[in-house]
């Protein structure tokens, strides 16, 4: 009874997403009756597309719940993708490479925290600095022709993987994908059911109130931003070490910004963001599939525009109605 109250809260807050997901579910059922193979591929692709988005969204929401507006997620992802890639090229060990990518993301998280909390730089500019820095550093140090030593492959979970439709989609995934799904529930629990989460949310809503009961606002902001950076780092690791297997300049391609829309759409909750990310992922996958099947004759550039258009639509449609953490974006000044 008590355990599901935060789940209930998330469900109530995200009615819209649930309705759309319901529609999607109907489509899926229809599709699986028509062509199981393609539908399965579609769902698997949707999950793949959604993974970096949900990780980026969680990075964003952990920061914002602590009062820090982080638009540097794109840069954090790109930088970690590159560092993870380099680590794999030189060590050949995928696991260590993932860890190093996490550290890279955390490092940029530390930079963001330093700029926002200690230097009190405008947070939008701070995020922009991270984006440009990542773009410049990865572009400068990348030499073409480097190849990773393989990439992370799918791990089937025994007989569960054989269930039709759901099996291949949910239970036959590479490790980062599994971890991401776990993280959604872990972050949700920590944020809404633990003391640390309570303090975090207090800092994001009314930092002075938190300060007057003895909470160290700066510490909360630093720790959360660094952890959030690691989350973006995982997204970067996913791109180079699990999804693609190599690096390309600017390969994040705006995902970090789309993740912000996912975060807003999901009302700054991990569960809500997950639903939104799945939605975005599904749309991308659907359009690519239809294109591939020749059903729709649209120039590929317009397909490419889709995630960005959706982001704008989400922002225009939903942000006015949702409520961001009240004290985000303002540096807290302890008198």
């Amino acid at each position: 009874m008590e355990l599901s109250s935060s789940l209930r809260l998330a469900l109530i807050k995200n009615r819209n997403i649930l309705i759309v997901l319901g529609v999607v579910l109907l489509l899926v059922i229809y599709g699986s009756m028509v062509n199981m193979q393609i539908t399965t591929a579609l769902l698997a692709s949707a999950l793949r597309h959604s993974t970096p988005l949900i990780l980026g969204a969680m990075c964003g929401l952990i920061c914002e719940r602590s009062g820090i507006v982080n638009i540097g997620i794109e840069g954090q992802m790109l930088f970690s993708a590159f560092i993870g890639f380099l680590a794999n090229v030189y060590t050949g060990n995928l696991f260590i490479s993932v860890l190093i990518a996490l550290l890279a993301g955390a490092l940029l998280g530390l930079l963001m925290a330093f700029m926002s909390v200690t230097l009190r730089t405008n947070q939008i500019i701070g995020g922009t600095v991270i984006n440009i820095l990542a773009l410049g550093l990865t572009g400068y140090f990348y030499t073409a022709g480097l190849r990773t030593q393989g990439k992370l492959g799918p791990i089937p979970l025994g007989p569960l993987a054989d269930i039709p439709l759901i099996g291949p989609v949910l239970f036959n995934n590479p490790p980062i994908t599994y971890t991401t799904i776990l993280l959604v529930f872990i972050v949700n629990f920590v944020l809404f059911r633990t003391a640390w989460g309570l303090r975090t949310r207090a800092v994001g809503e009314h930092p002075r109130a938190a300060d007057t009961v003895g909470i160290n606002v700066y510490k909360v902001q630093y720790v959360n931003t660094i952890l959030a950076g690691a989350m973006a780092g995982l997204a970067g690791a996913f791109l180079t070490l699990e999804a693609v297997g190599s690096f390309e300049r600017g390969m994040t391609n705006g995902r970090g910004f789309v993740a912000l829309a996912v975060m807003i759409f999901g009302k700054w909750t991990p569960l809500g963001a997950w639903g939104a990310a799945l939605l975005f992922g599904f749309t991308s996958a659907l359009q690519t599939q239809l294109q591939f099947m020749g059903q729709i004759q649209i120039p590929h550039q317009f397909i490419g525009m889709l995630p960005y258009l959706m982001t704008i639509i989400v922002l225009a449609g939903f942000v006015g109605r949702s409520r961001a953490p009240a004290a985000e974006g303002e540096p807290y000044i302890k008198e």
């Binding site: 600095v129 440009i132 410049g136 400068y140 705006g254 910004f257 807003i264 006015g320 974006g329």
Partner: protein
Amino acid sequence: MSESPVSPRKKSPLSEFFNIIRNESLLRSLTLQVVAVLLAMLIGAIILLLSGANPIQAYGALLRGSFGSMAVLGRTLEKATPLVFAGLAVAFGFRGGLFNIGAQGQLLLGALTSAVVGFAVTGLPAIIHVTLALLAGALAGALFGAIPGALKTYRGAHEVIVTIMLNYIAINLTDYLADGPFKDVSPGNIVARTPQILDTARIPSVAGLPIGFLLAILVAIFIWWLLWKTTFGFEIRTVGLNPHAARYAGIKVARTVILTMVISGLLAGLGGAVETQGVVGRYQPGFNVGLGFDGITIALLGKTHPFGVLPASLLVGAMKAGSNEMQFTAGVATQITDVIQALILFFVAADVIVRGLLRMRDTGDEGVKLTTGWGKQ
């Protein structure tokens, strides 16, 4: 550093005195920016060393490649020209309280539109054709800028994300248009690009120096006049500093926000048009790669003032022009200039660091106020 003495109120000597104080604060601002650039270059040098390059050789090549000769100087000015427009676009947005990261997309659309008018419209005398193409580019940028302006005003959508998304959309759109309806179908061409613009639409260079840069200077002066000498400019700045008080002042805030974005977009679009008509001669995707964060660096380095944008653009333009020479002679990848740019932005934004180094007090000079959250303010 400067105390404010209490003096009896006299007319001219007092205003003169405070002009000096203001100029002194101008000196302080200049110092801060220059030191920020120097620090960035220092760290850039360290990165160069770490990657096995010789910073002195690299910076020397950079300097030669940007200011070493008249020809090279011409290239620097050429590179600087669209940067001035992008910088003005972002600075203008900042003054109105808006963060326009979409200068890149607005510039691309302006460039394409100008190219289309440049090659498709025939039979016009040069002066009219040039002006028409410029106006077309400016208009395209203005319309594209109106989108985030309207979305912000009526839906509360934060312009940072909207403009970045529009950048990607613009890249895709111009790619498509240059590869499709407006493609150069002359025999032998397979590349996605528009046909060359007619000679009557070109902006010439005089003695190797591009007139486009002169145009940029004129526009900068106009923007300065607009912001500080007109009632309209007062309205824009007031909305940027305090939208609530602006409403109290009787200013129509929504209209002003949209107009600010429109003008900002117009400036970027104009920059794209000048680039097409003055340098490239057609629209070719990829002619201005990089996500156009240049405008932000330049706007902030120039303290969001049109007269600061000019030297800042020269600096970044010099880096871009010289980077080829740097790659050629010192074997250094051109992206190092991106890194240096990011560092400049860092030190300018975190001026606390520089001020600490120089032991300067914070007097809270007139800076920029940007919206910080996602909802309606």
